[in-house]
């Protein structure tokens, strides 16, 4: 399925969308940019740290609420669009449901297991408790209310057309986000034959019954890193941080990299991707699923 079609069909206005669930790697920037291009509105974004992507969606006016542990630019610091939205309602006010990394994971596990909340000791003593409607204290424990995304958008290294996705490297809250979500949209570096994914069913992230779209989108996580494929483009994050300091700078950045670009293949033509391509390979040693 094309990215445009997947976003149009499965991420309507008002959706609760989990993204960036592997933390710094595998962030589905191409999917987020398509949401901006399609003028998506009133989204609730769910994620742990969201390295710049949430900032861009907020700056583009797509976002009604952020349910996250951290919104900024991991190597550079503050999220300037996030600041403007929270401090000056530019381009619009954004409701913030603060979490910690652990509590957003638990909120998704609660949804995955279909219980109203899960208990934890984290956040005891933190003022986050008083500022987030989904957190309460009873009997000396924090109870983290379930967060149920309508859709989780997950970038992976390889998937087959039936929705069986292989990702590797640290996985952050990927698994609970996919299980908690009503549906999962996969974007991937490579579409492979089912015999590849089924050769290693332990590496399949989600039940295929959750997956509604597989989008072949090489480079779709740029500037975030993809183990085995691409290094992180630190300079790109740096440039975004600088240019997004002002509304004008952000608007120009957005036009250059999102609005004025048709799709990710055209975006990739403007990136010196070979500079980022990983060339030192480290293949995993196979295991044997032999059965008879």
């Amino acid at each position: 399925m094309s990215m445009a079609r997947a976003i149009e069909r499965f991420v309507p206005d008002g959706s609760t969308v989990a993204m960036g669930v592997a933390l710094e790697p595998l962030i589905p920037f191409a999917a987020g940019h398509e949401m901006i291009r399609q003028g998506r509105r009133e989204l609730e974004l769910v994620g742990p740290i969201s390295d710049s992507l949430f900032d861009q969606l907020i700056g583009a006016g797509c976002v009604r609420r952020v349910t996250a542990a951290w919104v900024g630019n991991v190597s550079e610091g503050l999220g300037h669009c996030y600041r403007r939205a929270c401090e000056q309602q530019i381009p619009r006010a954004v409701e913030v449901h603060d979490h910690s990394n652990f509590s957003i994971s638990l909120a998704l596990w609660a949804a995955a297991w279909n219980v109203p909340s899960l208990p934890t000791r984290t956040l005891l003593g933190s003022d986050i408790l008083a500022n987030s409607p989904g957190l309460s204290v009873r009997d000396g424990l924090v109870h983290v209310d379930a967060v149920r995304p309508d859709v989780a958008v997950v970038h992976v290294q390889r998937a087959d057309e039936h929705g069986r996705a292989h990702a590797w490297g640290p996985l952050g809250i990927t698994e609970e986000a996919g299980l908690a979500a009503d549906r999962v949209v996969i974007t991937c570096e490579e579409v492979v034959e089912a015999e590849v994914t089924l050769s290693d069913p332990n590496r399949i992230l989600f039940p295929e019954t959750k997956v509604v779209a597989v989008v072949h989108e090489p480079g779709g996580a740029h500037p975030s890193p993809v183990q085995g494929y691409f290094k992180r483009d630190h300079a790109f994050y740096g440039e975004y941080a600088e240019r997004s300091r002002s509304v004008e700078g952000f608007t120009a950045w957005l036009e250059q990299w999102v609005g004025g670009i048709q799709d990710r293949p055209h975006y990739m033509q403007r990136i010196d991707i070979d500079r980022l391509r990983i060339t030192r390979h480290r293949p995993s040693v196979p295991v044997d699923f032999g059965d008879e």
Partner: protein
């Protein structure tokens, strides 16, 4: 400040590395602490292990520069690539000996604010948020924060406690409120090191960095900081420490040898 053989950030990294004991499981985080881990591991703590909330455990520091903990060199050779909730599970069990947390503001009781300056509903500054900071603050056995020593950062009381230290400073505040670990043990700044009495309470000045004075430090501290009689001078980075720092941050990205305007800890404005 006179020119030195090392930057203030390099000194901070060296001091931070000394907080790591051999055999510690360290919740490493990003930036300077990542370097501190690399330095310690190559010096006095060869059996330390690092845990990263992205879902990684390592022994050897990554062989290449890291912009984030999730960069590919931090994954290659990892001892465990897993889910965040599994890394958090270890910390919730009390298995993480030491954590590092960054912050925009710290107060006399070691509480950190990385959320809001001003009213949360209409903040003067919206900071990025907790990330894993609150989790580390509450669940790790002990933790350390690194901070530029400025009056607007070292404040009497933070307006918003993102990551709780010793709360209101009453003895046993953490235990009373159900927090698991012992809390902050040191605030390492660009001017000196503040520490806390065992069992919690108010920070005191433990050492002043070479080239700086107690008075200079007090002038940049937002409360009347306790100064014991035995305040020492912080040991300068050794040649070995500096060599390790520069090996893992060859461009000086995290240690101030490169111009870096967009300080992640900046409160902006």
């Amino acid at each position: 400040m006179t020119s030195k053989a090392y930057t203030p950030q390099e000194l901070m990294v060296a001091v931070a590395s000394r907080e790591i004991r051999d055999g510690d499981l360290v919740f490493v985080g990003m930036r300077q602490p990542m370097l501190a881990y690399a330095v310690a591991r190559n010096a006095h703590a060869p059996n330390a292990r690092g845990l990263f909330e992205v879902g990684l455990m390592r022994d050897q520091p990554a062989s290449a520069f890291l912009g984030t903990m999730g960069d590919p060199p931090n994954v290659a050779g990892a001892l465990w690539a897993t889910r965040m909730s599994n890394a958090m599970a270890l910390m919730a069990q009390g298995s993480v000996d030491l954590g590092f947390i960054g912050g925009a503001e710290v107060d006399r009781f070691g509480n950190l604010n990385t959320s809001y300056v001003g009213e949360p509903r209409s903040p003067m500054v919206k900071l990025p948020g907790s990330g894993g900071g609150a989790d580390i603050a509450i669940l790790s056995r002990r933790w350390v924060t690194l901070m530029t020593h400025e009056r607007r950062r070292l404040v009497d009381r933070v307006s918003f406690i993102t990551s709780p230290g010793h709360g209101d400073g009453t003895r046993g505040w953490r235990k009373t409120n159900g927090l698991l670990g012992a809390g902050p043990v040191a605030i390492i700044t660009t001017l000196g090191v503040l520490r806390f009495p065992e069992g919690g309470g108010e920070s005191y000045l433990a050492s002043v960095h070479p080239g700086h004075t107690v008075d200079e430090l007090l002038a940049e501290t937002g409360w009347p900081l306790r100064v014991p009689d035995d305040v020492s001078e912080t040991s300068a980075p050794t040649a070995a420490e500096l060599a390790a720092i520069r090996r893992f941050d060859p461009g000086g990205f995290w240690t101030g040898r490169q111009l870096h305007n967009n300080d992640p800890n900046a409160t902006g404005a």
